[in-house]
């Protein structure tokens, strides 16, 4: 157990440096953009004079030199304070916490479904390599992988919401319907179906391919031959011997992609009008809401770091060898 603790703390120290570096990098990136939030708000107001813009700049702290702004920002970040969005008149942390549940429920459900579905389909395909079911799975997987995700989303809306009317097309809940308890839960689930399927489909295709390739590799390894020589039934060979070994590379990739799901969720949240982090990020870029954008970057990198850590932990659970060579 202490080994694990050491391992985690070691990774955390590394992660803190990465995250801080990201904060600095993003700070300069965001400030490299032409225009600032004051200008945007002036543009949206439909009327403006010099005083108006000046006031905004002062309020946002944009009148001070860049290094000073960076200093202030980093000082706050170190204290886990993400700053204040003057545009939205709220602390960035609160803003993010408002949006996080939607994005997490979207990405996590898609992730879990994609992983389970992908591994199952990949296994099926690999164990029947060369048969029609393998071909079918591969073709469907490849197609899902090759289709622009927003396009799938649009087509699904067209089919299931507009033409068939089975599922709601956007939003997270039926607002004003006054559902409570179970009904509210079901309502939320219904709203999640299309976005989750859209996002999940792509990743499911990724995991299917990976699992299939990985199993094909493991399938021919010596210890599988040993298991066969032991006279074990086929299902046990597949589940206990092949799959457990084949799943390792899938876990690695999955862990890496978990963070990138947030990127994919920008598109999904736009298509399905979900108030999530992805859309907040996109709006923040367009509105030059520096604090929010930086907060999102920071949050997502923390999420990615946590996911990588989790991946490693899962890995070390599945693979006893990891303990010796961290």
């Amino acid at each position: 157990m202490p080994r694990i603790a050491v391992f985690i703390s070691q990774r955390l120290v590394k992660a803190v440096f990465v995250v801080l570096a990201i904060a600095v990098f993003n700070f300069f990136l965001v400030h490299a953009a032409p225009g600032d939030p004051a200008a945007v708000m002036a543009g949206e107001a439909g009327a403006a004079d010099a005083k108006f813009v000046e006031q905004l700049r002062q309020q946002f702290g944009l009148d001070r030199p860049l290094y000073e702004q960076l200093g202030t920002y980093m000082g706050k970040v170190v204290q886990a304070d993400l700053g204040y969005s003057y545009r939205q008149q709220r602390p960035v942390f609160d803003l993010l916490m408002d949006r996080l549940p939607v994005t997490l429920s979207l990405t996590l459900t898609s992730f879990v479904l994609a992983l389970i579905g992908g591994v199952a389909l990949g296994t099926l395909a690999a164990m029947r390599a060369g048969t029609w079911s393998d071909t079918a799975i591969t073709v469907v997987g490849l197609t899902a992988y090759a289709t622009p995700i927003f396009w799938i989303g649009l087509m699904l809306i067209l089919l299931f919401s507009v033409n068939l009317g089975w599922l709601p097309a956007f939003g997270t809940e039926s607002i004003g319907a006054g559902y409570t308890g179970w009904a509210a839960f079901v309502d939320r689930l219904e709203h999640l179906v299309l976005p989750v399927v859209t996002l999940g489909l792509f990743y499911m295709a990724v995991y299917t391919r990976l699992t299939r390739a990985s199993i094909l590799e493991v399938r021919d390894m010596d210890f599988v031959k040993t298991a066969r020589a032991k006279g074990l039934p086929e299902w046990r060979i597949v589940s206990v011997h092949i799959l457990r070994n084949a799943i390792l590379p899938v876990i690695t990739v999955a862990g890496f992609q978990a963070g990138h799901l947030i990127g994919g969720s920008i598109l999904i949240e736009t298509v399905f009008a979900l108030p999530g982090i992805g859309r907040l990020a996109f709006e923040a870029v367009l509105q030059r809401d520096y604090q929010v954008l930086l907060g999102i970057f920071l949050l997502t990198s923390v999420v990615v770091v946590i996911f990588n850590l989790l991946t490693d932990l899962i890995y070390s659970l599945v693979d006893p060898r990891i303990e010796v060579a961290p």
């Binding site: 440096f17 990465v18 995250v19 570096a21 990201i22 990098f25 993003n26 990136l29 965001v30 490299a32 953009a33 032409p34 490849l142 197609t143 992988y145 090759a146 289709t147 622009p148 995700i149 927003f150 396009w151 649009l154 067209l158 507009v162 590799e217 890496f256 963070g259 990138h260 799901l261 947030i262 990127g263 994919g264 920008i266 598109l267 736009t270 992805g278 990020a281 996109f282 870029v285 367009l286 954008l293 999102i296 970057f297 997502t300 990198s301 990615v304 770091v305």
Partner: protein, 291 residues
């Protein structure tokens, strides 16, 4: 670089083609890809007018007289857009992949070959880029540097190189300790020669495979950016067409359907070719056959 891959030996070359041709999907993909390339090259012959020209009435459905695949909201020919868009999509896909490969392989090579603190530094740098969700970064980059061909290509390259760097690093690391590389060291060859002549050609197969897949991803990325309104407004690309037409998907399915299909098929073809290359170049399979 490619010359090193396609070895001068006829026997080896034909072996590669035979292995590639065994994968029917890959051949199909290659044929389709060649068609797309031809379409891109001869777009000006097929559709001599600019794809932006309003040659038909707006909202013409497919198979109408003056627009085979229909016309868009301003009466531009979808078919012409697809033919000319092939150019842009391929251009963006290829150049951004080339840039990504360049960055990735250089960093990965240095990191894998020298190891130690160099490796550590490069890997931390790579991690930095991998920690930021790549699509978010691409969106920010394009938004900040205003959408243009260059900024899109660079943004896609910047978010795509890290996996390549890792791949190249892994290859270089394992090849570096391979005996033929050590033999090169003991016969007094310089580091540069070893990197360039000994290791690089041998690490190219997996890099080529991933690059072929990355072209596909780049085309998808470009279309996603266009979808969000971050495409180059002067270039007719497939992604732009879907992005521009998505809002009228209800009235005019064909406007986003055909370019969507074009993306789908091209990306699919690239993936098939990539898998075919993988089967044909995968050193593991090759080794098995030899033993």
């Amino acid at each position: 670089m490619t010359a090193a891959v396609i070895t001068p030996s006829r026997r080896k070359g034909s072996g590669f083609w035979r292995a590639f041709a065994r994968n029917k999907g890959a051949v199909l993909g290659l044929v389709f890809l060649l068609l797309v390339v031809l379409m891109a090259i001869f777009a000006d012959v097929l559709f001599p007018t600019s794809p932006w020209d309003m040659t038909a009435a707006p909202f013409e459905p497919p198979f109408s007289e003056d627009a085979l695949l229909g016309s868009d909201t301003l009466g531009r020919d979808i078919a012409a857009g697809i033919a000319h868009g092939a150019r842009v999509s391929l251009l963006i896909g290829l150049t951004s992949t080339a840039v990504a490969v360049l960055i990735g392989v250089c960093l990965g090579a240095v990191s894998g070959f020298y190891g130690g603190w160099v490796d550590d530094a490069v890997m931390r740098f790579t991690e930095l880029f991998q920690t930021i969700p790549n699509f978010v970064l691409a969106v920010v980059l394009v938004a900040i540097f205003t959408p243009s061909l260059t900024s899109i290509v660079l943004a896609i390259a910047i978010v795509s190189w890290p996996p390549l760097a890792r791949l190249a690093r892994g290859e270089f690391m394992s090849l570096r300790s391979r005996e033929f590389v050590q033999a090169a060291v003991t016969t007094g060859q310089s580091n540069l020669t070893i990197i360039w002549r000994q290791i690089l050609p041998n690490s190219l197969s997996p890099i080529i495979v991933s690059a072929s897949l990355m072209v596909a991803t780049a085309i998808l990325l470009e279309s996603s950016l266009s979808f969000l309104g971050l495409g180059d407004p002067n270039l007719m690309s497939w992604g732009y067409m879907v992005g521009a037409a998505r809002t009228v998907i209800r009235q005019a399915w064909w406007m986003s359907f055909f370019p969507g299909i074009a993306i789908l098929l091209t990306v699919l073809a690239l993936n098939l070719v990539g898998e075919g290359l993988n089967d044909a170049l995968n050193p593991k399979l090759a080794r098995k056959g030899r033993a």
